[in-house]
């Protein structure tokens, strides 16, 4: 660990935490239907979209209508992506003559991108065409991000008044967030990345004659624009196999800081936006603080673990001064690598600029633990916010049990129905992670996917199911993922992890919306201030994390002690 390393981490966090405030104000205007700087340009486009689609922007939707529209659009979009992947060999923009994807892999990939997971069981350079990257994956990067944000906004609206029947209009939320937020930022960020060296071309792969003989194929593609939304929409699906470690996705330390900012910006702005929309900024800030505390601790922990290096290598005569450099690129160094991977697992982005499979055991445990916490540190765009609201409901419930009062959150009474639905949502995730990883580790078809022996093999499988269920998409990438068991199993985990969580959450929103909004009384447990932030962090760690402790102890923690004892597998 060095002072310079900490300074780099502090820079990334400071940029993110500061920019969240203006971004939250902008988004609050956006979702209140107000005018923004871009309205003169984008207003006509927006109205055109509604006219062609037959959407009445003033018509609100009940939670059931909202959920139905959300699922309908995503189901259709899943089918569209599946078709594109199966037909990519005959569709335009395929100079490398990439063949059609197999049905199994196309199912897994379509499930992955429609759920904002971006788990990649395919090898991009050889298994996906430029066309499918553009009009398949890029579009999903936009719409799955917009879907998550729309759902979060719908949940927030439940707290904005008494006896509400509707939660807003899904198509309006989807359109506004894409046109006014995602597109403009991605155009600017994409242009910066392009200027910094990220390619944007439809030419076939280049062939070079290296100085020291032989021949080198250099994969290219329309990367820069897709790279921007990949981070800003917390998607994470790399244009190339090496993801943000590839010099064409992330050419320098400065582009790395930009990408790290992009993937954290919206998730940290959303809780503050909640404060604006419910008319009490302090309420948003307490969620924001809880997220910031957890992420800061996580990045610090990962950096400390990685900067110490691997004692087995130090023993073999490798200098420990650079830290653990296996699976890391020189230009980033250990601090920016640790910050990026931890941010990307704390946000459900799942992008990597270094390879988690080769992280030290504790350096790899922290990213996995952030996923297992339920992706709230700060979580994916939208999903992080609606998940932390679920944790906030559970926190006031726990506090209510302790003091014997009916819990309230943001003026809404939290009763049995909401708590049951919250627990249902949380347990669906646990079922897939522990059930899936457990089953895969006893089935021969699952065990044969492992690339590492000993406790690290268990970590690989546990990581995969955590990543898929929590819609993160990062991997301990040695795992052979394109097998029948994992393509179908993880595909279903992604779909259930997204939609079987979202529907109960929208049901909670519908139920709370209908209740009267009560003014705070002397008996109300305050949901602002350090006491509540501490309680919320505690509930997230205990409720989200404790159920995974036994499994994590057998994987990364066992490996940590093996490594200290000098044991290899």
């Amino acid at each position: 660990m060095t002072l310079i390393g900490w300074a780099q981490i502090a820079l990334v966090l400071a940029l993110v935490l500061a920019s969240a405030f203006p971004l939250a104000r902008y988004m609050a205007v956006l979702f209140s239907g107000g005018r923004t700087l871009l309205t003169p340009v984008l207003g006509p486009v927006e109205r055109g979209f509604y006219a062609v689609a037959g959407v009445d922007p003033r018509r609100g939707m009940t939670w059931r209508e909202y959920a139905f529209a959300l699922i309908m659009l995503n189901a259709l979009h899943f089918v569209v992506l599946y078709a594109i992947l199966r037909l990519q060999d005959v569709l335009p923009f395929n100079p490398q003559h990439v063949p059609a994807m197999s049905p199994r892999l196309a199912f897994n990939t379509a499930a992955s991108f429609v759920t904002n997971t971006n788990w990649q069981a395919y090898v991009p350079e050889s298994q996906i065409s430029y066309g499918a990257q553009m009009f398949g994956l890029t579009v999903h990067n936009f719409l799955s991000a917009a879907t998550g944000i729309a759902a979060a906004v719908a949940v927030i609206r439940a707290f904005t008044g008494s006896a509400l029947e509707t939660l807003g209009n899904f198509y309006v939320d989807l359109t506004r967030v894409t046109l006014y937020l995602l597109l403009p930022v991605c155009v600017v960020a994409g242009a910066i990345l392009l200027a910094a060296g990220v390619p944007e071309t439809l030419s076939a792969y280049a062939t070079a004659t290296p100085l020291d003989g032989g021949s080198q194929t250099i994969a290219l593609g329309p990367v820069a624009f897709q790279e921007a939304i990949k981070e800003f929409g917390t998607n994470g699906g790399g244009f190339f196999n090496a993801n943000s470690a590839h010099p064409f996705e992330n050419p320098s330390a400065l582009t790395n800081v930009l990408e790290n900012w992009l993937l954290l910006a919206i998730p940290f702005a959303l809780p503050l936006m909640l404060g604006h929309l419910v008319g009490e900024k302090k309420q948003g800030r307490s969620l924001y603080y809880a997220m910031a505390i957890l992420l800061t601790l996580a990045i610090a922990g990962t950096y400390a673990a990685e900067a110490g290096g691997n004692p087995l290598m130090t023993h073999a005569g490798v200098s420990a001064s650079m830290g653990n450099m296996e699976g890391k690129d020189v230009r980033f160094g250990v601090a920016l690598s640790s910050a990026f991977n931890t941010s990307a697992t704390g946000t459900s982005t799942g992008a990597v600029n270094s390879f988690t499979d080769s992280y030290t055991p504790l350096g790899g445990l922290i990213p996995m633990f952030l996923m297992q916490l339920g992706e709230v540190t700060p979580g994916g765009v939208g999903s992080g916010l609606y998940t932390i609201v679920v944790f906030a409901l559970l926190s006031v419930f726990v506090a209510g049990l302790m003091v014997g009062r009916t819990p309230e959150y943001l003026g809404k009474k939290v009763q049995a129905r909401e708590i049951k639905l919250s627990m249902l949502a949380v347990l669906i995730l646990t079922l897939f992670i522990l059930g899936g990883a457990g089953a895969s580790l006893v089935l021969p078809n699952g065990v044969s996917s492992l690339s590492n022996a000993g406790p690290h093999g268990l970590s690989e499988m546990l990581y995969a199911w955590s990543s898929a269920t929590e819609n993160n998409g990062s991997a301990m990438a040695g795992l052979t993922a394109d097998t029948p068991l994992l393509d179908f199993g993880l595909g279903l985990a992604m779909i259930f992890g997204r939609f079987a969580f979202l529907v109960p959450v929208l049901a909670i929103a519908g139920s709370l919306a209908a209740k009267p909004k009560l003014p705070p009384s002397a008996g109300t447990f305050p949901t602002t201030g350090p006491l509540f932030v501490g309680l919320l962090v505690g509930v997230i760690i205990i409720l989200g994390g404790l159920q995974f402790m036994p499994a994590d102890a057998l994987g990364p923690m066992a490996e940590h002690f093996s490594m200290r004892a000098g044991k290899v597998f």
């Binding site: 037959g54 309908m72 944007e200 100085l211 820069a224 010099p247 290598m313 080769s358």
Partner: protein, 214 residues
């Protein structure tokens, strides 16, 4: 039902056109005009043909070149496609070793490379720089650490019959400091350094024409 389907279908179609065609193709077009070099992959030409990309590492094995980091990339054996062989810096693919920290294969590989580096880099001694014996994340890392370069100076100078000071000066000239003094790590671009070496000592490099279009 139809009334429910229409907005979903229309929205998907419109956003596919906008975010999947108009903007990506617009970026390609504007990229060609404004940033043609970057948009095309920052390719470097020498003597009229492409020798590589400034951003992508390449495999160097001769003593007269600085050698970048080990690359974990594997590809099909050209002689027998059922077998996998090492294809270092094959930029048609990308990726890491994915060997865990307690992997015997990893520790054996590193131990072997440390022994080799110890023989080759008599000068200096001491522990081997971390990046010299670890594989990168991308398998295409264009850079090495200044410490790694320093341990190769004597070998390269000998192979090219150059003075160590001259080689050291080239290394210094190609060492990029962290941005703003603290962002990222100091690094040396291996391909650009080797191109400069070839330009400075054509006899050792075997090429006369200087690097063009950087």
């Amino acid at each position: 039902m139809i009334s429910q389907l229409r907005p979903a279908i229309v929205m998907i179609a419109l956003f596919t056109i906008l975010t999947g065609l108009v903007f990506p193709l617009g970026f390609v077009g504007v990229g060609q005009l404004v940033f043609p070099r970057q948009a095309g992959g920052s390719l470097i030409e020498r003597g009229g043909h492409v020798v590589g990309s400034e951003l992508i590492g390449q495999s160097f094995t001769s003593d007269r070149y600085f050698q970048g980091r080990p690359s974990a990339l594997m590809g099909a054996d050209p002689k027998d496609s059922s077998k996998q062989v090492s294809t270092p810096y094959d930029a048609g693919e990308s990726g890491a070793s994915n060997l865990g920290p307690t992997s015997k294969a990893l520790i054996d590989r590193v131990t072997g490379d440390v022994a080799k580096a110890g023989d080759a880099a008599k000068a200096g001694g001491g522990p081997v720089p971390g990046d010299m014996v670890t594989t990168s994340a991308s398998g295409l890392d264009p850079d090495m650490s200044p410490e790694n370069a320093a341990r190769q100076v004597a070998r390269v100078a000998r192979a090219r019959a150059m003075s160590q000071q001259a080689v050291q000066a080239l290394v210094r000239a190609h060492t990029a400091a962290p941005a703003l003094g603290f962002i990222g790590a100091a690094h040396v671009n291996v391909l650009l350094l080797n191109l400069a070496l070839d330009a400075a000592s054509p006899a050792g490099g075997g090429h006369v024409s200087p690097p063009a279009a950087q």
